[in-house]
Symmetry: C4
Subunit: 222 residues, 4 copies
């Protein structure tokens, strides 16, 4: 999927053919997981269906990863050069990140330049933060909303808590009180700090670039 | 407005002529919006007047943007190269940002050098944060001060909450409790983090520059 | 005071002669201000003495600044090239910052190299934060400890609140509740964020340097 | 321990021989300290044993440092070039940091390249933060869990408070209330901010590198 249509290697063909099915599988995965957590008053049969869909989508990702590793002819180096794909395999909720790659492929087919480095880092890190935050809010809501003395009672509370945590504001009006909820929170603080730090840092240097470019464009004062 | 007085293109002439009216419109816009939110015990007729003034000012900005786009002879590239103007069109409360440009034009007419890159980034990002914070405080105050269980009761509380949020301190002594108030808060956290991160990052590198320059200036020890 | 002893210009001589008296005046200033705030059960005569001492020290700083400006033969450029001195004139509590300069002068007289750029930025910004925090804690304590519903009751509370604010942690267990206390707090958030951001940013890049230097020093393997 | 096995200087031989005993001593030190703090219902004899073990391990570190200083033939320069070892001597709880060096030595013996600069900075700063956080949580727990009005009642509370402090989130649901507990907290804020800032800053620039490298690897569009 990274190559132009003229590339006819088995790997390139595989990636072109699996693009659409995998994108669908991503959406199914995310939706099934969210339904299972948020709609806990559904009949058990439906909840089991959601779980099966989640696992089936994950299995698809694993198969795709294995086939591409095989076709690449690389050994462990594959893991390093396809870092994003590996992370996605372990945390499938980050799968929708590939949407940036799909966008880039489409842009390239039409002969347009790809996103600039800064824009891509911000897009990936920002999207990761968004997906991570959504997953974290789901997990914390699942752990907390039934606990005694809980302050996170609705999914809206969980989203509000997630935003104030990822931004390191931390009001403390709603906080997790169960051990598992706090564990998820600690994970979110760590990964969120790193990713959001990358977004804001990249934004700052991009801002400097934009201002410099404006300087060059404008004719010198008469 | 970016060009020296000798520049006689239609675009330059348009920008010179609209400079003052647009600056006035900015102030009217901001004042009318603030009055509408803060002075809610005014008679309805006055409040409607404020709303009309707000919309009229916005219409002026849109017309100015369209004319300048037309005169530039550029297509979509105009949006990219005039990023600040585009943002201002969507969020007119940021309009007073142009005050930096006006200051620069005046400086240039007197043959003085423009602000250094660091100073300009800090000025723009800092001013944006200030205006964004003021707008956010207005919006949150409007949503919260009548809600049950609200902790943000006065505009002073809203300003205090805004500062502690933008600095990512987040005491949590006053917090929004309504869904819309929290939505505005989330937007402020996101934009505020990016802008203030840019200000502090630029300040840090500017500080390093000042110290380096001091090194060069001082004669070596005898 | 920035020049080697051989420099015999009037400015250098003035700076050498005023070094000790001004350092003493700094300490007197800081001590008198702190006593006035913290020991409010002292007799009025003593408190008035403290105020007089504070004002006298400030007058000394102003005279010194004026003389040095005169002797430098520069106009407004003096303000820019002696930025630190100017800031110190406006906020005399930052006066003890000069201790870094005194240390550097002593080092130079003994032929030792001056502090590296990173170390100096960290020293200045770190010391400024410390002094600013101390002053802010004094001011907030003065405003808050008598207010109804106050949570900052002792000077220890004020120091604890200051640290949690400057580190942008913001627990919210003790917070200012009076308008003036909150205004001081907002000022501290702003300046503290910028200064501490400079310290941590410089620390990070210094850490990278240390690790790189260690790489170069060690002989290649086997 | 930094040199390949062929290096036969006394220093290299000393380092090879003390490697294992010192690693064991590190673990003993950390374990004995943790047991003493967490298991305060143990009989006094056992607690005294823990204290003795702690002190004995510290003595070992001091002896090792002294011997290596002697063998290096350097004077004060030793302190600067072995900065990490010096910090470890003062704060022996950071001793396990050497695990990174052990890993590097093993890698080198097998002819593999050492960790990249970014990875090493992140590994050291991240591990330091982890160990510092663990120690801080122990210390705060020891001070707080018996105090009146304490909110940190279990070691789990202390860990939760530590994470929310180091990430500068600061919910304020559990906070130290004793003077000594607050002093430890202030120390953790300072060091934690600097170290975590280094980790996230390095992560951001590493992310930019990874994305740039991906650009170079991929063939240009057909």
């Amino acid at each position: 999927m990274d190559y132009a249509p003229e590339d006819d290697s088995p790997k390139a063909r595989w990636e072109r053919r699996t693009e659409i099915p995998l994108a669908v599988a991503s959406l199914v995965f995310l939706a099934a997981y969210a339904v299972r957590v948020l709609a806990d008053e559904l009949p058990d049969a439906l909840l089991d269906l959601c779980l099966s869909l989640t696992l089936a989508a994950w299995a698809l990702f694993a198969v795709d990863y294995a086939v591409r590793w095989r076709l690449s002819g690389q050994r462990l180096r594959f893991v390093r050069t396809h870092l994003l794909d590996t992370v996605v395999l372990v945390l499938p909720l980050l799968r929708p990140l590939r949407v940036v790659k799909v966008y880039e492929t489409v842009q390239r087919r039409h002969g347009r330049p790809r996103l600039a480095l800064h824009a891509r880092v911000m897009a990936y890190a920002g999207l990761s933060t968004l997906l991570l935050g959504f997953t974290g809010a789901l997990g914390v809501y699942q752990q907390e909303h039934g606990a005694p003395d809980a302050t996170i009672l609705t999914f809206g509370d969980a989203v509000w808590w997630t935003c104030s945590t990822l931004a390191t504001v931390g009001y403390g009006d709603v906080v997790p009180v169960t051990p598992v909820g706090r564990l998820i929170a600690i994970g979110m603080m760590g990964i969120g700090m790193a990713l959001l730090g990358a977004v804001t840092g990249t934004f700052a240097s991009w801002l400097l670039q934009v201002f410099s470019a404006e300087d060059d464009e404008r004719p010198p004062a008469g």
